[in-house]
């Protein structure tokens, strides 16, 4: 069943037209695109802060907006929790009063326990503090907790980590993962950080210039070459799933089975048998036509070249199939030409273990909806 159905046209605050049409299921849906792509506009329309010109928005089967029938529920009746980029904590209320705002001011019944959410977000020691004294990370945790305690049918997050530095961001991501696992609240997560998308989302909606240009499972979307420009050239990559088959503490490496073949990645804090996600960037993958000798790169993955995509830039994007997974590679157009690469060819993908970033790996719980 779809949790959220969006089919709207309207104007963004900056004055460009926005057209969006997608459905989301349970779990986390990423709304991805460059700044100015219209992501926040769509999110605000779902929450009722902006009014679309026409179309329809439904959450959990309830119509929130219908241009034809003249339905336009005000924000406070939509049951959409919203986490703002800048937190927007009420400065004159303590953390405790902020967290419980929905129940004392919004008269939302609270089936979720206050203590449970406080625990989940590690806010127990901060309840009597004032927002002005919190660090950026703590503030966002309070904002997330406040939204969770408003009994939302769906939780909308507008770049909740973008105001934080890298270290704070890494502190908060595990909380978001925990929320995904422990609450059943579906979420729409807006960001232009591809790492956050790879790590958190189950499905991905990609926007560019005010339009949705693709929607589907996160792994599939990352593998699509035609979305390259929208996903960002430098950071483009794919999500690969694997199972940890061995951990070598001496060398600090884990061996991961990615469907018949194994690769080695850095890290020893895995358990054998654990399913993980790896973010493999296209620019970190090279290809060879035969297994090279005396090379430091240990991960050599036998693949079939599915598709080559070139434009007038210096680069060629390759889509490589390895079992039922796809790996992307970016090489120069000249290399592709000199190797005589063509679709259907057998190639070996070379991937440096060090380039699979530790932070992009996420243990998948039972809810990992990707497989």
């Amino acid at each position: 069943m779809s949790v959220l159905t969006v089919d709207i046209t309207g104007m963004a605050g900056a004055g460009f037209p926005v057209r969006a049409r997608f459905e989301t299921g349970p779990g986390i849906t990423g709304l991805f695109g460059h700044s100015g792509a219209g992501k926040t506009t769509v999110l605000k329309m779902i929450a009722g802060m902006l009014r679309p010109q026409s179309g329809r928005i439904e959450t959990n089967g309830r119509v929130c907006f219908d241009g034809e029938r003249g339905i336009d529920l005000p924000p406070h009746k939509r049951q959409t929790g919203f986490v703002f980029q800048d937190g927007r904590l009420f400065p004159h209320l303590t953390v405790r009063r902020n967290l419980s705002y929905a129940s004392w001011a919004g008269s939302r019944r609270n089936s979720r326990s206050f203590a449970g959410i406080v625990d989940l977000l590690g806010l127990g020691n901060h309840l009597d503090r004032w927002p002005a004294t919190l660090s950026g990370g703590e503030r966002q945790r309070v904002a997330i907790g406040r939204a969770l305690l408003s009994e939302p049918a769906i939780l909308l997050m507008d770049e909740p980590l973008s105001s934080l530095d890298y270290a704070r961001r890494m502190d908060i991501l595990p909380y978001l993962e925990q929320i995904r696992q422990e609450t059943q609240i579906p979420m729409v997560y807006v960001s232009h950080e591809i790492d956050e998308m790879a790590r958190l989302t189950d499905t991905l909606v990609v926007m560019s210039h005010g339009e949705v240009i693709g929607a589907g499972e996160t792994a599939e979307m990352f593998a699509r070459l035609d979305l390259g420009p929208a996903l960002g050239r430098q950071k483009a990559g794919v999500v690969v799933h694997g199972t940890v088959v061995a951990v070598d503490a001496d060398w600090g490496l884990a061996t991961v089975d990615i469907g018949g073949q194994t690769i080695e990645v850095a890290g020893t804090d895995f358990e054998t048998g654990q399913t993980i996600r790896l973010m493999v960037r296209a620019r970190d993958v090279s290809v060879a036509l035969q297994a090279p000798d005396k090379l430091s790169i240990r991960n050599r993955i036998r693949c079939v070249l599915d598709e080559i995509s070139t434009d007038d830039s210096a680069f060629a994007e390759l889509s490589l199939r390895c079992g039922d997974q796809v790996i992307r590679s970016r090489i120069t157009r000249r290399s592709a030409s000199e190797l005589g690469l063509r679709s259907g060819q057998h190639v070996i993908a070379l991937l440096k273990s060090v380039s699979v970033e530790r932070r992009a790996m996420v243990p998948q719980g039972e809810q990992g909806a990707l497989r």
């Binding site: 927007r88 929905a102 001011a105 008269s107 408003s150």
Partner: protein, 227 residues
């Protein structure tokens, strides 16, 4: 202090308090409209609100006399429907003081309403708060320092009002003779200096007390961040 002086102080406080409390809701509405909405003629409203501040008080008093006097259009209407009379009564003094204090009330109110981040109201709405609830729980508390400052300023102005009052309701001991008018009268007579000084000291004390009380209230309402 003489009984007469005490009576003057009590009357002045009554007039100023009535003037402030009665203008406050109107001032808040006008401040809200000026802070939150855009419409044609907004600058006209802005100018009209500022008028009592820039027009000679005698003129304001005269306009009030014409409008609110026993034969004035508004005055007659209010008498016939509500039994209210203003001419040569303490209510008239309060009206004059309220009108003169109005611009001083509106300005800090408007500034403090403008200073409230509307994003916080948006956040309150996503948490289920209706407009009224979000006004009462977010906007009003955050604007409270400005409300207090405005109220105090208005009260001080109402307490010292002279020109419009004397023009509109004259200088009648026991009815419309407030502190300023009494001091003025006393200074006109050769033996009034000592009594005038007492009244002057009293008015300074009242003004000081008002400032101290409002500071204290502001501290109570707006908690300092602490760890």
């Amino acid at each position: 202090m003489s009984e007469a002086a005490l009576a003057i102080i009590v009357l002045s406080a009554k007039v100023a308090l009535a003037a402030t409390l009665f203008s406050l809701p109107f001032a808040f509405i006008v401040a809200w409209v000026l802070a939150r909405s855009e419409f044609r003629g907004k600058s006209l409203l802005q100018a009209a609100v500022t008028l009592p501040l820039v027009v000679p008080p005698v003129v304001t008093g005269y306009v009030l006399l014409i409008l609110f006097g026993a034969k004035g259009p508004v005055g007659r209407f209010l008498f016939e429907w509500f039994g209210l009379t203003f001419a040569f009564r303490w209510t008239g003094a309060a009206l004059a003081a309220g009108v003169m204090a109005f611009p001083l009330l509106v300005r800090p109110l408007r500034l403090s309403i403008e200073a409230v981040d509307r994003g916080l109201e948006e956040a309150a709405a996503t948490l289920g708060a209706s407009r009224m609830i979000s006004f009462l729980t977010i906007t009003l508390p955050l604007a409270m320092p400005g409300v207090l400052a405005g109220t105090l300023l208005g009260f001080a102005k109402a307490l010292g009002e002279f020109g419009a009052t004397i023009t509109f309701v004259s200088n009648i001991p026991g009815e419309t003779q407030t502190l300023s008018l009494a001091v003025y009268s006393l200074l006109q007579s050769p033996s009034g200096d000592a009594e005038a000084l007492r009244l002057i000291l009293a008015s300074v004390a009242i003004a000081l007390a008002a400032v101290v009380i409002s500071e204290w209230l502001a501290r109570k309402i707006k908690p300092e961040p602490r760890r």
